[in-house]
């Protein structure tokens, strides 16, 4: 399988597989409906729109979006919509959970509920994005943009596994992982670089399967072969990183938003850790990015 190098190639790949059922909690906003309908029309997704029937139908009508009344599952209120959607995924009646027009805290609380939620006990929850910019020849899988503020060693290990797993789903057999710092030096002033040295060694020992992991590396050494040559740093990543693991949420967040604004970036992201993909989209994301998030979750839902 050729690796997927652009986000618009995901849908093509999905058409070869089964149709994935997406349960949307409080599907009462036009953006979410629009993105879902596009995925349905592309032929790789099935919609389960949980919420207030008349609110959903009214929203669709106002936005000129064609939905099938059979897609709707009625729910009394937002809390009811969320727990119904989570239960549909939990029981295997849906493959993907997606947040609609509902408070993020309320939504995540239901995902995290130890009795009725989707996160296995002790499992780390983290956010991984596939980012595309015209000036990089492949996708960058970056983590964590949204969930773990200052990941500790255990959390970094989970981030690494999730992002490598995602890269593999995109057809990359031996993902190259760059552990991002401000320079390539292990330095106690930057405690993250110590975790990076450990992760590099673990990878060398085969603890993450077939992949190349190296860090700390700065962004130039991670993504620019010319910088690697100039600096003469020996690294198997060689300026061709697939995965970029960042030391903090703040660092990863500003990085990807910079690329969205100034480098014509697009992205697809999802929450990893729960038993099934969970999609939580920000209001500031582009229409395209929202659709890509759904496509990504469908790719990751495949067994």
């Amino acid at each position: 399988m050729q690796p997927i190098t652009r986000l618009n190639q995901i849908a093509e790949r999905l058409k070869q597989g089964a149709i994935r059922r997406i349960a949307v909690a409080a599907a009462e906003d036009a953006n979410t409906l629009g993105a879902i309908v596009r995925a349905v029309n592309e032929g790789f997704a099935e919609a389960m729109l949980i919420g207030n029937r008349s609110a959903i139908e009214q929203t669709a009508t106002n936005a000129g979006i064609q939905i099938d009344p059979d897609w709707i599952v009625d729910a009394a209120d937002h809390a009811g919509a969320v727990s119904c959607a989570v239960e549909l995924v939990r029981s295997g009646k849906a493959d993907i959970l997606m947040k609609g027009l509902v408070n993020t805290d309320l939504f995540l609380k239901a995902v995290l509920n130890p009795e009725t939620g989707l996160l296995p006990k002790g499992q780390v929850m983290s956010y991984v994005c596939a980012v595309e910019v015209p000036d990089y020849p492949k996708l960058m899988f970056i983590t964590d943009t949204a969930v773990l503020p200052f990941p500790d060693m255990k959390q970094k290990e989970a981030m690494l596994r999730y992002s490598i797993n995602m890269a593999r789903r995109f057809g990359i057999e031996e993902p190259k992982v760059a552990l991002i710092g401000a320079s390539e030096k292990v330095n106690p002033n930057f405690p993250n670089t110590i975790d990076y040295a450990l992760l590099s060694k673990m990878a060398e020992r085969g603890q993450f399967g077939k992949c190349l992991v190296d860090g700390p590396l700065d962004l130039f050494l991670a993504c620019d072969p010319a910088s690697v040559a100039i600096k003469g740093v020996l690294t198997p990543i060689a300026g061709q990183a697939d995965v970029l693991l960042f030391p903090s949420l703040e660092a990863c967040n500003a990085f990807y938003k910079g690329l969205m604004l100034f480098a014509k970036g697009e992205l697809a992201g999802m929450i990893c850790g729960p038993e099934k993909p969970v999609v939580v989209m920000s209001r500031s994301e582009s229409e395209n990015s929202k659709y890509y998030c759904i496509a990504l979750s469908c790719l990751m839902a495949d067994e």
Copy 2:
């Protein structure tokens, strides 16, 4: 005075002022010589090349760079070149200190020496960059890319003063400062956001002079008016930030390197805090960026 919005406008502005004298410690590499000669030829700089005379002349000859033998100040070794260059600046015989082909630690140790160096006692040293990308209508002054790993409140206050001061030198009368976080919420999980609330209030009380300071703001709210409208966040920055203050060096470093690689970015940066501008350039910076660093330091050297 119209604000400078592009880095190539700095030289134009400099031609209106006096010639600034640059003391280069260990001026024995072609990149540094090339950038210096370009600044001299532009008519706003005078070179004082401290180091081994034959090494300097040989480097220039090999690279086809024309230098004047009178520019050279002989020094026995690198340590001698550094202390000579620092002393020239300290005694007022030069206006700017610049690092050539010498170890950065050795160089900074001389700058920081309490008896013979350039940093006043108790003064914070920090790095400020002016970054240009085609898709932003003005320069972004960002800090700290290189010196302060995890700035505390006192260091953030210094970073704020230095970057505001730099923005003013570029003709921005009321700099708009965005204190960058992952979202606009003050949140104890992100201790930096507490410092940001304090800095915002201090600015409101006029403690930084004429400027607008607001944070936490994410990068979209800082630099994208459309995002401000969509999210409905009330902020005087309004998506038009001049200054971006980052919560950590790692965050700022990855941000600017992402823009250099993927957004056709250019930058000019210098160390702030010492009595006179100090230029320390990285090997991975572009030829253009190296020249811009010199131009920036000349602009900042003016009284």
